[in-house]
């Protein structure tokens, strides 16, 4: 459930296989399929998810707090613009995290190299997660905006969250 909330349809498969294993010494035969170490994969995806959430939260706060504006067509446009940015970041950040995370092959999953050797996640997995992040970011941006404006936004000390609490509800259209 948590995986679905964090990654939508792009949660990491368990086990996550890769192919082929490192080549065998001359005369030997490499294993056709190996497995990633599920712990490192899980850690990479969790970090990617959390980083996306933090990025979207920062974008929401930046949108509402780093402005002297109060609800106006200008602010609503700004909210949409920042929404796009949040969505984009929710795609780029997990892609970067997944690409750079020190994932490994599971020990003993390849007879040719039984140690847990470093192994990058495959691009198709990363891209799928990035596309899911694009959608996830947009949803998270809207939900966070609503949550913050309807709670903290009730108090003037919340600054821009208070002054712009009418966006995105009831107002989400600039004019």
């Amino acid at each position: 459930m948590l995986d679905w909330l964090l990654h939508l349809w792009a949660a990491p498969p368990d086990p996550l296989e890769f192919s082929p294993c490192p080549p065998a010494p001359p005369g030997g035969q490499a294993d056709p399929i190996g497995n990633f170490d599920p712990e490192t994969v899980s850690a990479a995806f969790t970090t990617a998810g959390v980083a996306s959430a933090v990025a979207v939260l920062l974008v929401v706060l930046l949108c509402y707090l780093a402005t002297s504006k109060t609800l106006s067509p200008g602010f609503v446009k700004r909210w949409w613009l920042f929404g796009g940015l949040a969505s984009l970041l929710a795609a780029i950040v997990p892609a970067a995290v997944l690409r750079l995370w020190p994932t490994r092959a599971a020990a003993e999953s390849c007879t040719t190299l039984p140690t847990a050797f470093p192994l990058d996640l495959p691009w198709d997995i990363i891209i799928e997660r990035a596309v899911a992040g694009l959608i996830w970011g947009a949803f998270a941006y809207v939900i966070l905006s609503l949550l913050l404006t309807k709670t903290l936004g009730r108090f003037p000390a919340a600054g821009g969250l208070f002054h712009n609490r009418g966006c995105p509800h009831p107002r989400f259209r600039p004019s």
Partner: protein, 514 residues
């Protein structure tokens, strides 16, 4: 002089304002604007005295009264007239706002001065009187058409002005004085023209001495002298050379060259004679402005507003705020204030800190209202969508659509606020100018530049869009729990605009020194 406009002797009392002549009528306009901004007396009873009923100043004053009443009625119908437009404007008697001292002879075929005093009947035993009349008044004065006013000749006005004592409305005015113990009487007029100069002494004495109405055994006692004040104008404008030496009727024209002479001749009377007033505010300008045209009365005498007239309105409110002049002796107390430099700015206004803050806030509110709610003189048709989701609507239980439902009240308020803004713009365009606002154009002026800064602005926040002003409305709306609907909107607008003025334009802080 540092008027406290929040004192109960202003906000809860009645001001009987007697506007004498064209200058007096023009002083009524700023007084009504102060009322519109919520800084007027509890009730205002207006009496305009002018023989020239078509005078542009009188017409403008009447129109302003009507516009004020329309706005107030519409707001009051929704319980929203206790902030802006708080002052109730009353008629002295049966909608009679303007009194002409020559109106009794309106049935006469000729409006000439000699006809109005019935010179032709001064024969027989009255012949010496006729000769005296001819001696005192030159031919071109005797031939003057009085429907065009007294044209800077107060000696004509004095002949007719005493009729005031026979007027029903004046009797009623004195009667009110005895039932309204907290009311004050204030007359405004010039001492260098015709009507004001002739009316000022008569009005003051008549108010204080009381009258004996015809057919009534008992006198109507006068008003206590401490309750009667006046503002007198010294020559604060001049007139350009006229195209013709004489007026169209062959009579005299007002002559600017005589203004100072007239004033100098009149002033000793106010200093030494019992003219009735306990307080006299003497107002003038070291650099009298030349009017655009030299018109002899009527609609053509459409002089532009002048800040001295605004000071006269403030003088009336100061007189009220001080509760009259209780300590006055036999002679009136004279009040002076001065303007630093050539042009008038916020700091030159003789107001205490709290009143200045409210005034700056009021003008900010006028700007914000016009910028946010109307376009081209009409309430915006897209107001629902423009205000949708705005924070200050929530605490006052007002939906964005509901603002438009109050369309009539909003429209009338906009109509009046336009008058206020146009008046401020005219003051700004004058030489010397009163620099209260930066520009006449509301639509093209950013919020942060609506008013002239009183000092270095304490808050450097950029205010471009009108919605930036709503930031201050939001905060005040959150603090306010007792007002809903349109009354809530008006109160939020007042408080929020005062906060904006304080934070951005350097208005004094609330509770500042008085």
């Amino acid at each position: 002089m540092s008027a406290d406009l929040h004192s109960s002797s202003v906000t809860e009392a009645t001001l009987n304002f007697l506007a004498l002549g064209g200058s007096g009528a023009r002083a009524l306009e700023p007084l009504l604007h102060m009322c519109a901004l919520g800084l007027g007396p509890g009730r205002l009873r207006v009496i305009l005295i002018d023989p020239d009923q078509s005078n542009a100043g009188v017409t403008r004053a009447r129109e302003t009264i009507d516009a004020y009443r329309r706005a107030r009625e519409a707001l009051a119908a929704r319980g929203a007239a206790d902030s802006f437009f708080r002052t109730e404007v009353l008629d002295p008697v049966r909608e009679q706002t303007v009194w002409s001292p020559i109106q009794d002879e309106q049935f006469m075929p000729s409006a000439r001065f000699d006809a109005r005093v019935d010179r032709n009947s001064m024969t027989g035993s009255a012949a010496p009187l006729g000769r005296l009349f001819d001696t005192l008044f030159a031919r071109r004065i005797r031939d003057m058409d009085l429907d065009m006013g007294f044209r800077g000749v107060p000696s004509i006005g004095t002949v007719f002005m005493h009729r005031l004592r026979d007027e029903r409305f004046f009797e009623q005015l004195l009667t009110y004085a005895h039932s309204e113990g907290d009311s004050r009487y204030f007359a405004v007029g010039s001492v260098f023209g015709g009507t004001g100069a002739s009316a000022l002494p008569v009005v003051g004495r008549s108010l204080v001495e009381g009258i004996q109405p015809e057919g009534r055994a008992a006198d109507i006692e006068g008003v206590d002298r401490s309750r009667v004040g006046a503002a007198i104008f010294l020559p604060y404008f001049t007139l350009p050379s006229a195209d013709a030496t004489h007026a169209p009727d062959g009579g005299v024209r007002p002559e600017a060259a005589l203004f100072a002479q007239n004033a100098a001749a009149a002033l000793p009377m106010y200093m030494h004679d019992p003219v009735g007033y306990s307080s006299i505010y003497v107002l003038g300008d070291a650099q009298p402005r030349e009017q655009e045209r030299n018109a002899v009365g009527g609609a053509a005498q459409d002089n532009r507003p002048h800040y001295v007239e605004f000071f006269a309105a403030l003088a009336a409110l100061d007189f009220m705020g001080r509760g009259g002049e209780p300590e006055s002796g036999d002679r009136p107390a004279f009040h002076v204030t001065a303007v630093k430099g050539t042009n008038v700015t916020w700091d030159d206004l003789p107001l205490d800190a709290a009143s200045l803050r409210s005034l700056m806030g009021g003008v900010t509110a006028v700007y914000t209202f016009l910028r946010a709610f109307q376009n081209g003189g009409r309430i915006r048709h897209d107001l629902d969508s423009a205000l949708k989701g705005v924070t200050w609507l929530d605490p006052i239980d007002l939906r964005s659509g509901a603002v438009k439902e109050h369309g009539e009240a909003m429209q009338r308020t906009a109509d009046y606020f336009h008058r206020v803004w146009d008046w401020l713009a005219a003051l700004r365009a004058s030489t010397p100018s009163a620099q209260f606002i930066r520009s006449a154009n509301v639509e093209r002026t950013p919020v942060g530049e609506a008013l002239e800064f009183r000092q270095s602005p304490p808050e450097k926040r950029r205010l471009d869009d009108v919605h930036d002003a709503f930031r201050y409305w939001n905060e005040e709306s959150h603090r306010m729990r007792d007002r809903r609907g349109l009354p809530g909107l008006m109160e939020v607008m007042r408080r929020g605009s005062e906060l904006l003025a304080e934070k951005h334009f350097g208005a004094p802080e609330p509770g500042g020194a008085r």
